[in-house]
Symmetry: C2
Subunit: 327 residues, 2 copies
């Protein structure tokens, strides 16, 4: 901190005030201190961290969309497993896919001085995290990348997954393949749609946007989508469900539909193999996603200061029956 | 605290030391102070609380068996909903059905000065919580009662649920009804077994312990149980699954068994209605369980000091098909 103080031409006390976000520092002075911190590469530096903290608080924060969704509870369990092995506890919160709530939760966790943050972001703007990261709180994004900052990120191969789904359905003769996904401002939904387009190109299928529905999946929205996509002369003969919530609603909506379209769902889920027909899915290892992100976070907590990393975990198609129905 | 100090014949500083579990107090003196606290009814008193805390820490602790189990993630979500409405966050941990780990987690959460604890206990001994409760940390048990202390408890009607299941199956002509439950030292497993026996008595069915399997449900243990219960001259014609984990493993184990026994599962689960046949369950409102416990906890945090309460929430049988198969 001596170097920062010297470079910025201020006292150590002032540097400490800026790092702690305390009032009573002139904005220009604060900017000078932050610039000096940047210049000296203090980001994630344990010195800054200890100046702020004194010592570890023994907790890490995890913000997801909804702790009640089985996908996130599996993630939570994996994060907890790694945190426990490092003697830490996990404080969790649901953003409810609301960027304002994500910001509130995250800043509150930081104010509680978590040792690090794991985030499945709801929003696309994360500038608010920069002061926290500068002050020494490592942040790792998982399942979705940050919006406008650079930070460690662990993703799954969303694009590759839907390319594989389209290719698989095309191999069984399907040319009218619908895609029902979540809101297009959600990263995974947008990437999976990109993979869908890419898959169509590779299979020589003309992209038809009337076969696309992108909305928050609810019972009603999926029933609506099914009514529209599966009727008329140009109806779809196959459907790709963009995530596990879409798949569950879709299975219910299709229960009494004949002929039943072929179906591939993104995300594996319990009992998929026991349904009639068993559900073909694009599976990824949710536990591995949580573990990889938590391991990276603890490396950062322990001082690892290489440039931000991006890790992409593989997915695989598991054929079970619903995706192997010919036209 | 003046009254406690006077009654115990010690200084206020000593009372504070005892309440804070600080060393350097003679055990006999500490006992005298705790006796005085008891006598004056200081339990859960906000005075003691503030003496210890200064102010709220903004978090409540939740210990469950496994945050990755859909039952507990639904519970977690409900607790979070109430905590958020009171401006609190939830710190969670999985006991892994291990009483030692339950104790460790809980004491660590208390050391982090949570404003209150919600616990699905793994163990049967909770004396270790008495100093925390005396010092002003309210504790509410949910889904299972505490072992050897008195504390607020929110349960579901486990016994009534299996009575209803047996009665329902008997009405469809079944006399050989098996029960596959979790370890008998787990409260809910033991209560549900009691309900099974009681149901047999009411239906005039002779209790046959060869039809009972009580073990930690794993894929293998349930396959073993099925092989034993559903073969031979005296095989069961109906099965009651003791919880959602048993049901899932059982459905997999029964996939290729004919004739299929009638089945009633304790705990509802997603997609139960879409299986073939759809699964009849004893449902209880997991969200309501979490909410009721969290609401009680916040009443205590806000100073409500009536004697410990026991709340039992109702269950209901949802007939869907698997439980309405005649012999």
């Amino acid at each position: 901190m001596n170097d920062v103080a010297r470079l910025a031409g201020v006292s150590i006390k002032t540097v400490s005030r800026v790092v702690n976000d305390e009032p009573a520092v002139h904005p220009e002075t604060a900017d000078r201190v932050l610039a000096a911190i940047d210049q000296l590469g203090f980001r994630r530096n344990l010195g800054a961290r200890n100046l702020r903290r004194g010592s570890t608080t023994g907790t890490i924060g995890l913000v997801v969309e909804d702790v009640g969704n089985p996908f996130y509870s599996e993630l939570n369990r994996a994060v907890e497993r790694i945190a426990t092995s490092f003697g830490r506890h996990v404080i969790t919160g649901s953003s409810e896919e609301n960027s304002e709530r994500e910001r509130e939760l995250t800043l509150e966790f930081c104010a509680r001085r978590v040792d690090g943050m794991l985030m499945v972001p709801a929003g696309a703007q994360h500038g608010y995290l920069v002061p926290e990261m500068r002050a020494g709180t490592p942040v790792v994004f998982l399942d979705r990348p940050p919006g406008d900052i650079r930070a460690d990120t662990v993703l799954v191969d969303n694009l590759g997954g839907t390319v594989a789904a389209v290719t698989h359905l095309a191999k069984h003769g399907h040319r009218r393949i619908a895609f029902i996904g979540d809101r297009p401002d959600i990263f995974t939904a947008a990437e999976r749609l990109r993979g869908y387009r890419e898959g169509c190109v590779r299979a020589g299928i003309r992209y038809d946007e009337r076969l696309i529905v992108l909305r928050t999946p609810t019972r009603e929205s999926v029933i609506d989508a099914v009514a529209r996509l599966l009727s008329g002369r140009n109806r779809a003969t196959a459907v790709i469900a963009g995530n596990n919530r879409v798949t569950v609603h879709l299975l219910r909506a299709l229960a009494h539909v004949t002929p039943r379209p072929a179906l591939v769902g993104f995300d594996d889920f319990e009992l998929a193999d026991l349904l009639d027909p068993p559900v073909t899915v694009i599976a990824h290892d949710v536990g591995r996603l949580g573990e990889a992100a938590a391991e990276l976070l603890f490396a950062r907590i322990h001082g690892e200061d290489s440039p931000p990393r991006k890790v992409v975990l593989p997915v695989r198609l598991i054929p079970r029956g619903s995706g192997e129905v010919a036209v």
